[in-house]
């Protein structure tokens, strides 16, 4: 029996392919195979002999079967291996190209600003960009003769002959959204209003269209100190600098009183702007307490309510934060610029995941 075992185990080990292996199986453990034939002989044996030969034959059969299975698996493996070898590809070849889109810095920064103010309870309000002169000027305490009107480089829409209404304007600021929101919602109110604004000016630092975000908070007890805190919180979160320091400077806007220009501490060392350090101050926005006349235009009783408003340039803070040098390039759609300064499609700013990456 040992002879049988050695013969088959050796033959199995040397089988070259599955066909040879199958022939061996038939020859050894097939119905008429050598081992099977031996097993048939068990019936002719004495019980004592059977006691010994039975288990031995069974063990032999098992051994040959598992040798067959092992060899079969080994043959399959080496076959697969060879196939895989033959399937070699140069994976350093470029992949099929996929276009990679981008988000414009204006959109990204608008979302950043929105995320921060939303956390402080400010909703987002909108208004038309072709605006009537009441909303853009009169309601904001800028009457027809006010020098501020002339200084705003206003774009006017043309009027059809016979239409004697004052011409509509392209809104010169996002402030008319204050009026529309107050008239719509009343007080208390907290909104920001980002969007396009227009002034007839074009040079190195001015484009005829740019973006502002207006802020408005009206309640019973909101003070200018609250305004300062809100702006400090905003700047800290937006510019992602801990030591942000703001300076309020008295100024004048027709729609606020008192009014303040707001400067942020910075340094220009080596031509690079750094916020929160240094001895320079950079003007970043205008703000103030909403003028009683503006509250009245918005249908809100100034004896009962008070609050603040501010306006800042989205393009401007985008330039400051991301080191973008030229305002005009924002609107030029140069593919190289869009790719360099743009943001990934899924880089959505949020308070919980971070305002910027």
């Amino acid at each position: 029996m040992e002879e049988l075992r050695q013969k088959y185990i050796a033959a199995i080990a040397e089988a070259a392919d599955e066909g040879a292996l199958e022939a061996l199986r038939v020859q050894a453990v097939g119905k008429k195979g050598e081992v099977s034939l031996k097993m048939r002989e068990l019936g002719k044996m004495s019980p004592e002999e059977r006691q010994v030969a039975g288990p031995a034959l069974n063990a032999l059969k098992d051994e040959i079967n598992s040798a067959l299975a092992a060899k079969k698996a080994a043959l399959a493996d080496s076959g697969l291996e060879e196939r895989l070898k033959a399937e070699w590809l140069d994976v350093t070849l470029p992949a099929r190209s996929e276009r990679r889109g981008s988000i414009h810095p204006i959109s990204q920064v608008t979302e950043e600003v929105t995320a921060i103010f939303a956390d402080m309870g400010f909703a987002v309000a909108e208004g038309p960009q072709v605006e009537d002169d009441w909303h853009n000027f009169d309601a904001l305490n800028i009457p027809g003769h006010h020098p501020a009107r002339a200084e705003m480089d206003t774009f006017y829409m043309s009027r059809a002959e016979g239409d004697d209404r004052p011409p509509h304007v392209l809104r010169t600021h996002t402030s008319p959204v204050q009026i529309r929101s107050m008239l719509q919602q009343g007080a208390p109110i907290r909104i920001i209003a980002p969007g396009r604004v227009y002034r007839a000016d074009y040079d190195q630092t001015h484009t005829p269209m740019f973006h502002q975000v207006e802020g408005l908070a009206i309640d019973k007890d909101i003070s200018m100190a609250n305004l300062k805190w809100v702006l400090e919180e905003f700047c800290r979160a937006f510019f992602e600098v801990d030591g942000v320091e703001l300076r309020f400077r008295a100024s004048h806007f027709p729609f606020t009183e008192p009014s303040a220009e707001v400067d942020i501490r910075c340094s220009w060392e080596g031509g690079t702007l750094k916020l929160g350090e240094g001895d320079d101050w950079l003007e970043i926005l205008g703000s103030g307490m909403v003028h009683p006349k503006v509250l009245e235009s918005g249908g809100i009783d100034p004896n009962e309510w008070q609050g603040f408003a501010f306006g800042l340039g989205i393009d401007r803070i985008a330039m400051l934060k991301y080191g973008i040098p030229d305002l005009r390039a924002f609107f030029d759609s140069d593919l190289r610029w869009l790719r360099h300064y743009g943001f990934a499609a899924l880089d959505v700013p949020s308070i919980h995941a971070g305002i910027s990456r």
């Binding site: 470029p94 309870g121 396009r196 400077r249 100024s251 869009l338």
Partner: protein, 802 residues
């Protein structure tokens, strides 16, 4: 507004340094825009004495000088004709920057002899144009700083010039005195009272003044007097220095005096040559059509109701804006009529704007001067004329009355804290207002006549806070609008816009922000360019009309990028479109443009030209992302800017177009100079209906356990038959059983027609049947198949392809 430090000190007694003054000005709201301090430029120059001078051996015009300086004796080569032994000079030693020649002095050899510095002329130091020779000082010690010597001996030459921006509410700060008053209130010194005694008239005024009754509201008061026997000529040096320092050209004493009061006290005045005035002067409204040549020698024609001053012969002055040339003062003037009046700001502003005259007078009258100072101002000016030009003053003639601007507001000292959030003691608040000229009676604050801007209690708060310094304001947390987790703030539309934007970027498009205005022709290509959307005052013809869609801007951007060598582009914009000129005629569109190919050539051969189905895939992705229903109609009635055969409108019902997609019309491509192929999509973001029910429950998922069956059908159809008709017909055969119908093949063209007949094509669909209650038997499938074939035949006339 410009003034010099010494001019300021004419009104302000102060020990404050220049820097302290500059800081305070900005902090008070009088923002410093620039300072020119000659000391900064000249601080390194020192005084020396020439102890020896001899001719340069190799140059006739050069001298070799020994100059004693604070660093000992230096040898300096000098070409100035006046360089000689014994004179006191200004020396630039090696290392000093000389502004007039834009050079830093070094040690060098001139014609073989070493020179260790430079002796300077005034021009080289940018002090004047004098360049006849080097400066010779009448005094001065060796080593003394030149600027120190100047401060002692010629202080006006190192007088810093300060320029501040004046906000429209602060006309009082358009006079140096007003600036000084603010600084004094801040505690930077004491305001120096500049009073003058009235000059009694010694004869009756030969020129009378009057104001027409209908003109009193635009010119309520008119003071005047004649000063006879004056000698006009160049004004004294101090006055010329003041005016030059702030950029004004001295003209003659009389004119310079009026300019002085304009800047010193925000009090524009006018001087007429009395001998050229015919009869009396009358303030009246223009009838319209009158003309006058102004002092700027231009002729102006007046519109009705402008305020004018006329004599018996006609118009002589544009009130509050500009005097007339015929009655202007000249060097020969001996008798002068001095005018001090008050003109209404609004009328003055309209007149100035209409005539396009920007004068110092207009600038001040339209912001508001102090009406109560009219009678005082005329006395000040008279006194100065008498002092500088001699002569004799007449009585003062007066027409009208000084407008009553007295008003008072309640000072609520608690308001500063509640509105601004600063704690300022009541006494300090009162002191501040008094220093600014307010008169306090109990808690009522009477506004000074030079502050037309103060119109209510909030203004009092502003004054107090401004003077106390807003820099001291400390931020105070603002409580949350509501306790707990903040609510979402975006409206469904705002959220939709953000979703659309990021979806399109995910599809590989680069977001652009293009101008809201485009040129008329480009707007016209897209159904715009109408008069209603036209700007009255565009900055260029390239930006003349509000855009009907962002597409022309995107295509222009594509064209610019193609010119830079980028041929394959995917650009998009989410932004406003204007279909009219009214505020409510604006809509938000999301537009994408694909130009060129899908990508660069690659080893996989995947590059192909973009086509209408790229645009369709992208618009479907956008619509799906913003929640549009899956079942929509596609119509062929598209705007003119699309290729009529290769484009579609995605609609819900007959009226609601959610968006367009397709190939651009070749004419549009041509007009915008874009090299095709180019396909676009445009989604009207508000058109897709917003979900009505607000709930988060998604409903249960119904999964069928039974095996689905797919069957393919190929139909022979007329070439013009649309796939969607076939799909809809097939799907309608059994709405419960048919889960999906997909088109998987289209066979058309010559070969197809050869097989199936002229004008025919074949379309193959897969129908997926999903049984819900029992396994399908072959007979069931046969029955449905038969119905499908019938439905398609009915809808299209098509037959099953054999």
């Amino acid at each position: 507004m410009k003034f010099t430090l010494s001019w300021l000190k004419h009104h302000l007694e102060t020990e404050a340094t220049l820097d302290e003054i500059l800081y305070a000005l900005t902090d008070l709201g009088l923002e410093v825009e620039g300072v020119e301090n000659p000391v900064d430029r000249l601080s390194e120059f020192t005084i020396g004495k020439v102890t020896h001078a001899e001719k340069h051996p190799d140059a006739d015009k050069l001298k070799v000088c020994k100059v004693e300086t604070d660093e000992g004796e230096l040898q300096i080569i000098c070409g100035a004709p006046n360089a000689r032994e014994g004179i006191t000079v200004v020396v630039a030693k090696p290392g000093v920057y000389v502004p007039g020649i834009d050079t830093t002095i070094g040690v060098g050899k001139i014609r073989g002899i070493e020179s260790h510095g430079m002796m300077c002329s005034e021009r080289e130091m940018e002090m004047s144009d004098a360049h006849d020779g080097i400066i010779e000082l009448p005094s001065g010690e060796v080593g003394q700083r030149f600027t120190d010597w100047l401060s002692e001996n010629q202080p006006e030459r190192v007088d810093p010039v300060i320029e501040i921006a004046i906000t429209p509410n602060r006309p009082d700060a358009l006079g140096v005195e007003g600036v000084a008053r603010d600084l004094a209130a801040r505690g930077l010194g004491t305001l120096i009272p500049r009073e003058t005694d009235p000059v009694p008239g010694s004869f009756p005024c030969p020129i009378g003044v009057s104001i027409d009754a209908d003109t009193l509201d635009q010119a309520p008061v008119f003071y005047g007097r004649v000063i006879k026997g004056v000698k006009n000529g160049p004004s004294p040096k101090w006055l010329q220095d003041y005016l030059r320092a702030i950029g004004l050209r001295p003209i003659s004493t009389l004119v310079d005096i009026t300019n002085f009061f304009t800047y010193d006290r925000n009090r524009p005045l006018h001087v007429f040559d009395a001998d050229k005035v015919k009869g009396n002067l009358r303030l009246h409204r223009a009838k319209g059509g009158e003309t006058l040549v102004g002092l700027d020698e231009k002729e102006y024609t007046f519109e009705a109701d402008m305020t004018l001053i006329s004599d018996d012969e006609g118009v002589e002055s544009i009130a509050g804006v500009m005097g007339g040339l015929p009655t202007g003062c000249t060097e020969e003037t001996t008798n002068v009529f001095l005018e001090a009046a008050y003109f209404d700001p609004i009328r003055t502003a309209y007149t100035g704007r209409a005539l396009k005259i920007n004068s110092d007078a207009r600038y001040r009258f339209e912001r508001g001067i102090d009406p109560c100072w009219t009678p005082v101002g005329i006395e000040h000016a008279t006194r100065m004329i008498l002092d500088l030009c001699g002569g004799e003053a007449s009585d003062v003639v007066i027409a009208g009355e000084i407008p009553d601007v007295d008003r008072a507001y309640k000072l609520d000292t608690a308001r500063v804290e509640s509105l601004v959030g600063m704690e300022i003691p009541a006494a300090e608040q009162r002191a501040t207002l008094e220093a600014l000229g307010f008169r306090l009676e109990g808690d009522m604050a009477h506004v000074p006549s030079w502050r037309p801007d103060v119109m209510g209690e909030a203004d009092l708060v502003e004054e107090v806070a401004r003077v106390a310094s807003l820099t001291k304001l400390v931020g105070k947390p603002m409580r949350r609008a509501s306790a707990g987790v903040p609510e979402a703030v975006l409206t469904p539309m705002q959220r939709r816009e953000a979703t659309a934007r990021r979806t399109i970027a995910t599809l590989g498009y680069n977001e652009c922000v293009t101008y809201s205005f485009v040129d008329e022709a480009s707007a016209g290509l897209f159904g715009g360019g109408t008069d209603a959307t036209k700007l009255d005052n565009p900055i260029s013809s390239e930006m003349s009309h509000m855009r009907p869609t962002p597409l022309p801007g995107l295509l222009q951007a594509a064209s610019r990028n193609q010119a830079r060598g980028y041929a394959d582009l995917a650009l998009f914009e989410v932004g406003p479109a204007f279909h009219g000129g009214e505020p409510d005629e604006q809509q938000q569109l999301a537009c994408g443009v694909l130009v060129g190919h899908s990508g660069p050539k690659d080893v996989h051969g995947s590059r192909r030209a973009v086509d209408v189905f790229d645009a369709k895939a992208d618009i479907e992705a956008v619509l799906a992302a913003i929640g549009a229903p899956a079942k929509v109609q596609i119509r062929r009635d598209v705007p003119e800017w699309l290729h009529p055969g290769r484009s579609g409108a995605i609609c819900l019902g007959p009226k609601n177009v959610l968006g367009y997609f397709g190939e651009l019309h070749p004419k549009v491509l041509d007009a915008l100079d874009v090299k095709g192929p180019a396909v676009v999509f445009s989604v009207d973001l508000a058109a897709t209906p917003f979900p009505k029910a607000k709930g988060t429950n998604r409903g249960a998922l119904e999964l069928a356990d039974l095996q689905a069956v797919e069957r393919d059908f190929a139909f022979v159809l007329d070439v013009g038959t649309e796939a969607l008709t076939v799909v809809n017909a097939a799907a309608g055969a059994d709405k419960t059983l048919i889960e999906e119908v997909r088109v998987f093949d289209e066979f058309h063209g010559e070969k197809a027609e050869a097989q199936m007949g002229a004008g025919k094509k074949s379309l193959a669909i897969t129908v997926r049947l999903q049984p819900k209650d029992r396994t399908l038997k072959e007979a069931d499938i046969e029955a449905v198949s038969k119905k499908i074939i019938e439905k398609v035949a009915k809808a299209t006339g098509g037959v099953l392809r054999s």
